[in-house]
């Protein structure tokens, strides 16, 4: 399996390291030709406005949307969660997303950088130490969406079909539980 990591902006190197440490090959994705080679995609943390802007400029927006529609497994952390949401609030005016998960995500919902925090939580029943940076939360979800973690009553990890999204950054910690879940439960057999 080749795991693509969208490498337009953000902490894609950490996701590549996490992917490799889980025993998969990783490929930096910057063009539609790169995207065509991958069996799964990770959308990293970073600035969602910057990433979507570059995706549109370099003709990746439509190809990613259509790969998602065809069932490509995609995992997004933080900015990646925003970009997988069908609806966002508190975004830049007219900000687009790739979409795919039937949810509304509030950008920077936990506050500004001084409110960024680390916290212990349960992910799919497992204990996990999570890092939230200017993090979004999930405001509401459609009935196809499974909530995998919550913090203070807000969903912070969700799955719909082959799509997984977290408000937090498992790529910044040594615990590979989220990546393992993505590779073993969602990408399995690819």
């Amino acid at each position: 399996m080749i795991v693509g990591v969208l490498a337009l902006q953000g902490d894609f190197r950490e996701h590549i390291a996490a992917t490799v440490s889980c025993g998969h090959s990783a490929l930096e994705v910057r063009t539609a030709a790169d995207l065509a080679k991958v069996d799964a995609l990770v959308v990293p943390g970073g600035e969602s406005t910057t990433i979507i802007h570059l995706a549109e400029l370099f003709d990746l927006y439509a190809p990613i949307k259509s790969r998602i529609a065809e069932g490509l497994p995609v995992y997004g952390s933080c900015a990646g969660m925003i970009l997988l949401a069908d609806r966002i609030v508190d975004g830049k005016d007219g900000q687009k997303t790739f979409g795919g998960i039937d949810m509304t995500v509030r950008r920077n919902a936990f506050g500004r950088q001084v409110d960024s925090f680390e916290s212990d939580l349960k992910f799919n029943g497992q204990s996990l130490h999570a890092v939230f940076i200017r993090a979004p939360w999930v405001e509401e979800v459609g009935k196809e969406v499974q909530v995998l973690s919550e913090v203070a009553g807000h969903a912070v990890a969700v799955r719909q079909g082959n799509l997984l999204a977290t408000s937090f950054h498992p790529e910044l910690t040594a615990d590979m539980a989220v990546h393992t879940y993505f590779f073993d439960e969602i990408c399995k057999g690819r």
Binding site: A7, L8, Q9, G10, D11, F12, R13, E14, R30, G45, G46, E47, T49, T50, H53, L54, L57, F58, C78, A79, D90, G91, K92, Q95, R107, N108, F110, G111, R112, Q113, V114, D115, S116, F117, E118, S119, D120, V131, F132, I133, R134, V151, A152, G153, H169, L172
Partner: protein, 300 residues
């Protein structure tokens, strides 16, 4: 506004350094008003630096340069959804307290402003807000990290449009890191003495081959090619100060620099990004600036 309970911790080194990780591969642009901030956000900037005068104007106008008016910073915070940074004077911890209270996302303890303390920098561990600091060499970078900086930028020579000092600083920092990685463990004690940096940080750099925090480049970057040059030199991202809004066509130049920072290894994209941008900032050769007026010399 965080409403969490339990084991939650804010202002940790991990969330401060992690914030800088999210800026990687991006361009942070100096802006002096709401209009410029929106141009920067639309062009794909990953953050903006809110300040009253860009370095080129500080240089031209002279006088004491200080923290910006909180009103001006808050207008910019309200206008854009991306992170907002602001500068404080070296050693001016009260300016830092004020900026932190505004909910700014990152403080730049900057040599571009007039220093408030010619001996000490701010004790950055005392703050929840993360700091970025300038450095011209590895020892300076590690001293700033030891004081709590969560991100480092090369200094370059701000407000000149001359990239040569940024180049020198990136080569120096990179070269000193490579030298450490080649040393025997028993040589690192003297290396720490020579770098005037704490042994623990020197040892960490020798083991990992990189700084423990994100390293951006700043100072004199004026074109997409400059931005790509710094990325190829190993920068994690770039700050562009005067280079954008002192040029003929800021919106296009801003967008071009964002493209160049992502596609820094693709000469075709860089060629396209360099086309038809109009006039770059006129600039000043660093060699023509008398030594006492060079900003990169500030910081100790």
């Amino acid at each position: 506004m965080s409403q969490n309970t339990g084991s939650e911790a804010t202002g940790t080194a991990r969330v401060k350094r992690g914030m800088a990780e999210m800026l990687k591969g991006g361009v942070i642009m100096d802006v002096v008003n709401v209009e410029q901030a929106k141009i920067a956000e639309d062009a794909g900037a990953c953050a903006v630096m809110a300040l009253e005068r860009v370095p080129a104007d500080i240089r031209a106008q002279g006088g004491v340069a200080r923290m910006s008016d909180p009103d001006m910073i808050q207008k910019i915070q309200a206008a854009v959804s991306i992170p907002v940074m602001a500068k404080v004077r070296i050693g001016h911890f009260v300016e830092a307290q004020i900026i932190e209270s505004l909910g700014v996302d990152y403080i730049d303890e900057s040599e571009v402003l007039t220093p408030a303390d010619y001996t000490n920098h701010i004790d950055k561990w005392n703050f929840k807000i993360p700091f970025v600091c300038g450095a011209t060499n590895l020892g300076e970078a590690l001293r700033r990290i030891n004081e709590g900086a969560a991100m480092i930028r090369s200094k370059g020579e701000a407000g000149t449009g001359d990239v040569s000092n940024a180049m020198t600083h990136m080569r120096t920092i990179g070269g000193e890191i490579r030298r450490l990685t080649s040393m025997r463990e028993d040589e690192l004690y003297v290396a720490a003495k020579e770098l005037q940096a704490p042994y623990a940080l020197v040892k960490e750099v020798a083991e990992t081959g990189k700084l423990p925090v994100v390293l951006f480049t700043a100072g004199g970057i004026a074109t997409p090619a400059d931005a790509a040059l710094m990325m190829q030199m190993g920068a994690d991202g770039v700050f562009i100060g005067s280079g954008i809004f002192k040029s003929g066509n800021p919106a296009e130049r801003a967008a071009a620099c964002v493209k160049a920072t992502t596609f820094y290894q693709d000469a075709k994209v860089l060629a396209d990004a360099s086309r038809g941008l109009g006039e770059a900032m006129v600039g000043i050769n660093v060699a023509d600036i008398p030594v006492p007026h060079r900003l990169a010399e500030r910081g100790w």
